[in-house]
């Protein structure tokens, strides 16, 4: 004789005010015991209408809006937007400006990955220790940004055709110091986390996504590389001067939470390599085109342009339509944070409550970009 234990599904609202939803994100989750049987993500708590606001601002003023989309990767946002504007207006960027923005965006990529790794481990329940370590390293990079452009998070450093101001003299030794200090700190992180049995057993084999699934769902970036797809826009479709620098694309074949974490840690090392090469290759010269070539009130010809970069979270694209006036007629952002959440339900269903936020954190989203 067997007894059937009947359990009743519980529906719980997690968020928008939950400690680990990485912002104001809400999930309506149905549990069967501890197991997840249904997830419905609900967005929009941070929607500010950036795309609409961009339609009423000049091309340079929109830079300040892009800062506030993914606020842990603002240099990268600036870069994607500038590429789109340059393509739309046919601006030939100044080489030194391009090198500077490559350095800035690679530094920002390290900072963004540090945040991603720190918060992923925080979601695993560590008592803030790895988070503080990663934030400490990020702080040094933010100090560099302050030196470079006077702001730490919302940089607005880039301008059409380059950057607004050359790096100060003390920037280069300061940057070298940070770059020298970083690899041992990343090794420390490795010791603390990568070899850690608890992290390994918690993340291994959880929320596996296959490459076919992810490509079908337009997921890009470290998530895709964690499943063994060698797809990095810096390598496949080099923008700026990425074709002149050499770097590896770390790949992991598992496609689980651990692989996603591992790929991010390795990418930080590659970014350091890229910055070192940029430092060797950068030449003196103007940092942005002459005012006659690129006026401040840019009036691109009628047309449209789509430019995408490899953001720290995936493919970040800007689609701009110009009607010949001083402000974009339409500005669309292909936000990797939003699109990488497409498979959230597939990732979470069947997993346990404890792994839910870990899987969610391994996607590495930023609510400022999801809702825009």
């Amino acid at each position: 004789m067997t007894t059937q234990v009947r359990t009743e599904p519980i529906t719980v609202n997690l968020g928008p005010q939950h400690p680990s939803t990485h912002g104001v994100f809400r999930m309506r989750v149905t549990f069967d015991g501890e197991e997840i049987i249904d997830v419905e993500p609900i967005f929009g708590y941070l929607h500010r209408g950036s795309e609409k606001l961009a339609e009423e601002r000049t091309y340079v003023q929109v830079v300040t809006l892009t800062d506030r989309m993914d606020y842990v990767g603002s240099m990268l946002n600036n870069q994607a937007y500038m590429l789109a504007v340059e393509k739309l207006a046919g601006v030939e960027p100044a080489p030194r400006g391009v090198w500077l923005r490559m350095i800035a965006s690679e530094l920002q990529r390290i900072a963004s990955h540090l945040v991603a790794v720190g918060f992923l481990i925080q979601d695993l329940g560590a008592w803030g220790t790895p988070l503080i370590y990663t934030m400490r390293e990020r702080e040094k990079i933010l100090d560099l940004f302050e030196m470079l452009c006077g702001a730490r998070i919302t940089n607005s450093y880039l301008r059409p055709g380059g950057v607004f101001m050359d790096a100060p003299e003390e920037f280069w030794p300061a940057m070298n110091e940070v770059l020298d200090e970083l690899p041992p700190r990343i090794d420390d992180l490795d010791d603390l986390l990568t070899d850690n049995d608890i992290i390994f057993s918690r993340t291994k084999g959880v929320s596996i996504l296959t490459p076919e699934q992810m490509i079908d769902a337009s997921i890009t970036g470290p998530m895709l590389r964690a499943a063994g797809v060698d797809w990095d826009l810096r390598h496949r479709d080099p923008y700026d001067y990425y074709d002149q620098v050499k770097f590896d694309r770390p790949l992991h074949t598992a496609g689980d939470n651990f692989a996603r974490y591992w790929v991010r840690v390795q990418e930080m090392r590659e970014s350091i390599k890229i910055i070192r090469q940029c430092e060797q290759l950068i030449e003196p010269g103007p940092i942005r085109p002459e005012h006659d070539d690129v006026p401040w009130l840019l009036r691109p010809p009628v047309g449209d342009a789509y430019a995408a970069i490899e953001h720290s979270k995936g493919e970040l694209g800007f689609y701009l339509v110009s009607d010949g006036s001083i402000s974009p007629y339409r500005c669309h952002v292909r936000a990797p944070s939003l699109i990488n959440l497409t498979l959230l339900r597939d990732m979470l269903v069947g997993e346990l409550l404890a792994d839910m936020f870990v899987s969610f954190g391994s996607v590495d989203i930023n609510m400022g970009e999801v809702d825009r």
Binding site: E146, S156, E169, L192, G285
Partner: protein
């Protein structure tokens, strides 16, 4: 084997625990006896001998000294620095502000360095409460009249008090940031070291360097 990774993690945390903290304490810093003696201008032994109460306080970490946060000269601070003599009232800054928070009202009859007789500025209000410190107004100013400030301690209890009116701008401490003002960096200016720049002549205008100067400077840097 399971467990070795955990021990490794404990080794890393122990190593970090033995490092000096990286916290920057603000607005003041707690110091021990050595720091207190330095602040009082005495040797530690002298401090214990002459000011035992202070020494005891310092030993219990109750003695604090004000701290200067290391800040870069380009820092885009809260208090705008504005040189009225140089401003023509062209309102480029107001037009360039993405949020439209600068209000300018002018009337004929002022005097201006560049233009001779020109507009007098009656109202030049900046609503700091909505400002996002992008600095586009500074970039737009054709006469180097508006600069970002260097300081940031300007919290207020009411939103309305955040508006910087023109009188306050005239009298405010003039510590311009070197953001988008390369002439400062050529002179290695640091707003905190060099102090106030009340005179707009000492601020200078930015003349674009020629390519030879740029190349020379690059060689020196390397």
């Amino acid at each position: 084997m399971i467990g070795l990774g955990l021990l490794k993690a404990m080794r890393v945390t122990l190593r970090n625990a033995l490092k000096t903290p990286f916290t920057i304490q603000y607005p003041d810093r707690k110091v021990g006896i050595a720091g207190a003696a330095k602040n009082e201008g005495k040797s530690p032994v002298g401090l214990v001998a002459t000011q035992p109460v202070t020494a005891a306080k310092a030993a219990m970490s109750l003695y604090s000294v004000p701290v200067n946060i290391p800040q870069n000269p380009r820092f885009r601070g809260n208090e705008f620095t504005w040189y009225e003599n140089r401003c023509t009232g062209c309102a480029s800054c107001a037009k360039y502000c993405p949020l439209g928070i600068i209000e300018i009202v002018t009337s004929p009859g002022g005097f201006d360095v560049q233009e001779g007789e020109s507009y007098a500025i009656d109202v030049f209000d900046i609503d700091i409460g909505r400002c996002m410190f992008c600095g586009l107004c500074v970039e737009a100013c054709p006469y180097d009249a508006l600069h970002m400030g260097s300081r940031f301690e300007r919290s207020k209890y009411e939103r309305d008090a955040l508006v910087i009116p023109v009188d306050e701008l005239r009298e405010a401490l003039k510590q311009p940031s070197s953001w988008f003002r390369p002439q400062f960096e050529e002179r290695e200016y640091d707003p905190f070291r060099d102090g106030e720049r009340t005179d707009h002549y000492s601020v200078g205008r930015h003349e674009k360097p020629d390519q030879e100067t740029l190349d020379e400077r690059w060689v020196e840097e390397r």
